[in-house]
Subunit: 301 residues, 2 copies
């Protein structure tokens, strides 16, 4: 089929690579507000043609929105206004409730499937695109009952072609869980980077003393401010809720240490260790992909 | 030379593997308070013989302390009391000032070299040991002027044989920088795990929605509570200092989001992005080791 990828960054570009390689897309149209991204995407063979949004809406069987969630809310109604009931639109955003609300009463609402593939990196732009970014991760489809059955089928076919496991979730529920398990870790990482940058004036010390653990913990602080600002805005209340608890937990460690209550810190850390068991299966999965050493090396200091 | 490794966990065991492979140690003695660790270490060829501390102190040219920093303070004076001026003792702990103070007036103080190889993983025990754990990381040597020149040379020779770059630092200075750049990231990670475990009751949701970014950020929460409790205790004031700033930074994000000040969050995130440039060289180094994809894949959600 003809697939139009709107937004030729990490996600859109990686979709372009995999969907050509696995034969899902016979023809890949690319749309990007930045001309240089379109040209880079062509060079990197992420897409076959750069087109404008109108052309994409006329010629694509499936349109994939891989842009910041704020831009999605702006663009989605416009796209639904230009397509026919034989076409399908799928978004890839990290938030779902507001995006779904934004087209609630649109006559072609049923052609839209709201999705969130749990994959990505801290890098952005066409050069960040790479093969197999999505495989073995979860693809969340939200509010599928509001989408046409054939549109949902197309979405499922897409994610299966990327070797993703599909999970169905209510949009509000998705946003709550995403705040708890995913969005919060970006803020903890940005805050850690700001702390170290303010405290540690010597870049050489940061570089030399940065343990693999620190590198791993601060990695998300390299993420795109634009993309994450949109996520904070759309998932504000869930994020505030989890941020308040996070501050409490850091403060708890702080107070236990201040009071020399090292039995207390021990108990907290032993509880926290539990996360390892829960993520283990995933760990083993990644280990099977040969990531164990890279994932493990350097992180004790 | 004959090397005694005291503490046959991740660090001691990995030293055993590399020091045999690179020919630095002709004979590897192993000491561990837990009998099963000694037996596992023999099975895994981390050491050649299990001996008691007395034998190690009699027969080893070089003694390597790879135990929690609290235990080091207990054991180090005892070891210095049993060795001669022809032997050298080296510790591998994450804190340095208190350890150095603990032997300040010991007649054989000069035989001790205080060191901190910046390498490790979140795993512990003999089974966690692996080759090349140390290579291309920094090895910090503290207060070398208090150690005998030949003892420092031995330490330098050891770290060079592991392909580490050697950095000299005052012990108090080391502890400050280690708190800022390394220790804090363990607390931010433990606190994140506790937050998610309290908020997210569904283990399936944690597993499915855990982005690579979350896995990366929370990875250190699997670390050993015993080892880290000792570090908090010995580096208390530096840690409290950086924890207070960290809480401020998380709170700042919280307040900016609460006030819908998304220009403000954008500015903070753009500042935080700077950490990427500083760590970049290391990133490229790891990339050269083929870790880029594993390090990068999955972390956007």
């Amino acid at each position: 089929m003809t697939v139009a990828i709107i937004g030729l960054g990490l996600i859109g570009g990686s979709l372009g690579l995999d969907l050509k390689a696995n034969g899902f897309a016979e023809r890949r149209l690319g749309v990007d507000s930045r001309r240089e991204h379109g040209l880079q995407a062509l060079e990197l063979d992420l897409i076959d043609e750069v087109v404008d949004l109108e052309t994409a809406c006329q010629e694509a069987d499936l349109l994939l929105l891989a842009i910041p969630v704020g831009a999605t809310i702006g663009l989605l109604p416009e796209i639904l206004g230009q397509i026919t009931a034989r076409q399908t639109v799928l978004d890839m955003g990290s938030t779902k409730a507001e995006i779904i609300r934004s087209v609630k009463n649109h006559p072609l609402r049923a052609r839209f499937v709201a999705a969130h593939p749990m994959a990505g990196t801290e890098f952005s732009g066409p050069q960040a695109a790479h093969r197999n970014l999505f495989q073995e991760n979860a693809a969340i489809i939200c509010g599928q009952e509001q989408s046409a059955a054939d549109a949902v089928k197309t979405a499922e076919k897409l994610f299966k072609s990327l070797f993703m496991r599909i999970i169905y979730m209510d949009a509000e529920e998705h946003d709550v869980h995403a705040a708890y398990v995913s969005h919060i870790s970006h803020i903890s990482s940005f805050a850690l980077a700001l702390t170290v940058l303010e405290k540690e004036k010597s870049e050489a010390n940061i570089f030399n003393l940065a343990s693999g653990g620190f590198r791993s913990t601060v990695r998300l602080a390299k993420s795109s401010p634009k993309m994450w600002g949109d996520v904070y805005k759309q998932n504000k209340n869930n994020l505030l809720d989890v941020l308040d608890l996070y501050v409490e937990k850091v403060q708890l460690f702080r107070d236990l240490i201040a009071q020399d209550d090292f039995e207390g810190t021990y108990e907290q850390m032993a509880q926290a260790n539990e996360i390892g068991r829960i993520l283990e299966v995933g760990g083993e999965r990644r280990e099977a992909r040969g990531e164990s050493r890279e994932e493990r090396v350097e992180s004790r200091e």
